[in-house]
């Protein structure tokens, strides 16, 4: 054999050779799904009761929040409950991606130290886990929609691009936070505070149109504000999302995705010596 099968050289501009990296990523996609399944199995989601809990947990949370709104606000209607469940379920996709993603590299230490593979597979697997956990809640959303007799229209197909934007955002933040957590291991313990703050600052317990003018100008700073608002318009009110909402959500999602991916790829050579 005159030509080498593989050549390892210093990374140019700190990045791995992208063509080979993407080829490896594609070649190893079966591992991503198997690894995600193994994490779910570890969390007992492989059993019937585990899967039931996937549905019960967000439903119970939604009921508690609904009760809270009713007690504080004094009134709450079926649309409000529909809005609360739909947005809460999508919010948990984002929040779970963040928390699972944060520890994906540090918990994959043995794999990283002993096997050659694209490291980005680990945060990707974390998002796949979050997606597996989200899918049952999506079905529950449609059941609630039918029970509450909320409206239907073709505009609901907007849910597909909105969900795709949410997935891009989930990948971006998981990739970024997994890398940061290698350098600062206490970042993962700050995530519950971050997600709780996002929960209260996003249109979940309230509808986007009902916040006061004095704080409305700050909504642009929240990366998921318009994403959740668009989701609510589509899934609860069966309306098309606003162009501004879609643009805002897309800009945030793709910016976080590209910045996070670049940061990760530029740093991943360090992981084997930092863990």
């Amino acid at each position: 054999m005159s030509q080498p099968v593989v050549v390892y050289e210093p990374f140019k501009a700190g990045l791995p050779p992208m063509r080979e990296y993407l080829r490896q990523l594609r070649h190893r996609r079966a591992f991503i799904s198997e690894f995600a399944r193994s994490i779910l199995r570890e969390q007992n989601y492989g059993s019937a009761f585990g899967q039931l809990w996937l549905i019960l947990n967000p439903l119970l949370l939604a009921s508690v929040y609904y009760l809270l709104i009713f007690v504080i606000g004094g009134k709450a209607d079926t649309t409000r409950f529909g809005h609360l469940t739909a947005t809460l379920f999508l919010f948990y996709l984002i929040a779970n991606s963040l928390s699972e993603g944060a520890k994906s590299i540090t918990s994959g230490q043995r794999l990283i130290l002993n096997t050659s593979f694209p490291r980005i597979m680990l945060p990707i697997s974390a998002v796949v886990v979050a997606l597996f956990r989200f899918i049952p809640t999506l079905i529950v959303s449609f059941v609630i929609h039918a029970i509450l007799r909320l409206p239907y229209s073709w505009e609901m197909l907007w849910a597909i691009p909105i969900l795709m934007i949410a997935v891009v955002l989930a990948f971006g933040q998981a990739i970024l936070i997994s890398c940061i957590n290698v350098y600062f291991r206490d970042i993962s313990s700050m995530i519950p505070y971050l997600t709780r703050s996002l929960l209260y600052l996003s249109p979940i317990l309230f509808e986007a149109g009902k916040i006061s003018h004095s704080i409305k100008k700050f909504e642009i700073l929240n990366p998921i504000f318009y994403l959740l608002d668009s989701w609510s318009r589509v899934m609860v009110h069966a309306e098309a999302p606003t162009a501004k909402g879609m643009l805002h959500a897309s800009i945030f999602a793709f910016t976080i995705f590209f910045v996070g991916t670049y940061f990760f790829l530029a740093r991943e050579r360090d992981f084997a010596v930092r863990l």
Partner: protein, 268 residues
């Protein structure tokens, strides 16, 4: 766990398997085992150092040919594992070049990628996929892996119910059944009971063929002398000697100021 880079190719004895040219590896690592943002913020302005620069390899040049069983010896921190990790693509070099002329398997640790909540059978697939094998390849080798592990019906029990010996047997089986062009082993055989060690050592001997190159890192000098037909000695990231096992080992022992008994005392 074994890591497989590509499918097997045809080779002749003496043709080149791995070419390492002027290899250098320098990296920055944190001083704290678990660096935190809190610690970093608390010591702002105090001039405390958080990272250190490590020169793990410096100007290492060597060729490994098919038919060779190359042993790598050296004290702790000599750069043995770093060299293995660069050759297997786990860490990219910072200087020089590594050319690999065949499929590479790395057996650096046992059971990497395994999940104790899953059964032995599921872990064979998980471990195989982690190593870069395809589903079809694992399907084709599953019976051989199960037979080699001697687990019987326990293969369908969760791995958390396994003894450490059963765990090691299954992990080594997944790794040992693959027949790569170049196999890199780093201290992986130093776990398990005596029967397991003997079985894994025998498997290593079976894998010594003319169309395969084996690279073995170990502190067990007796094993290195028994298995290898060539040895290199690394010290502080630099290649100190290369040659016949007995000669290089003697030179290393003289340098380290240890007696001959040290090699036989060490475990396989």
């Amino acid at each position: 766990m074994i890591s497989l880079s590509d499918s097997s190719h045809e080779h002749t004895r003496g043709s080149i398997a791995v070419s390492v040219q002027n290899l250098g590896l320098t990296y920055t690592t944190s001083i704290d085992k678990k660096p935190t943002l809190k610690a970093r913020l608390k010591s702002l302005g105090r001039g405390k150092k958080f990272t250190r620069r490590v020169e793990a390899l410096n100007g290492v040049t060597l060729d490994v040919h098919y038919g060779t069983v190359l042993g790598i010896i050296g004290s702790n921190g000599a750069g043995k594992s770093s060299l293995m990790r660069v050759i297997s693509g786990i860490v990219p070099p910072t200087k020089g070049r590594v050319e690999v002329y065949g499929s590479v398997s790395t057996l650096l640790a046992l059971g990497v990628g395994f999940n104790p909540a899953m059964t032995g059978r599921e872990n064979v697939y998980l471990g195989g996929l982690a190593a870069g094998m395809s589903q079809a390849e694992i399907d084709g080798k599953f019976e051989a892996i199960a037979a080699f592990s001697e687990l019987g019906d326990a293969i369908d029990a969760p791995m958390r119910t396994y003894s450490s010996g059963m765990f090691a047997r299954l992990a080594f089986s997944v790794a040992a059944i693959v027949e790569p062009d170049i196999l890199i082993v780093d201290e992986a055989l130093s776990t398990g009971d005596a029967k397991f060690k003997e079985k894994s050592l025998n498997r290593m001997k079976e894998l010594r063929t003319a169309d395969r190159a084996l690279i073995l890192v170990s502190h067990a000098l007796a094993t290195i002398e028994e298995l290898c037909n060539e040895v290199i000695w690394l010290n502080k990231g630099q290649l100190m000697a290369r040659g016949k096992p007995a000669e290089v080992i003697a030179e290393y022992q003289k340098f380290m100021n240890v007696g001959k008994s040290a090699s036989s005392d060490e475990d396989v």
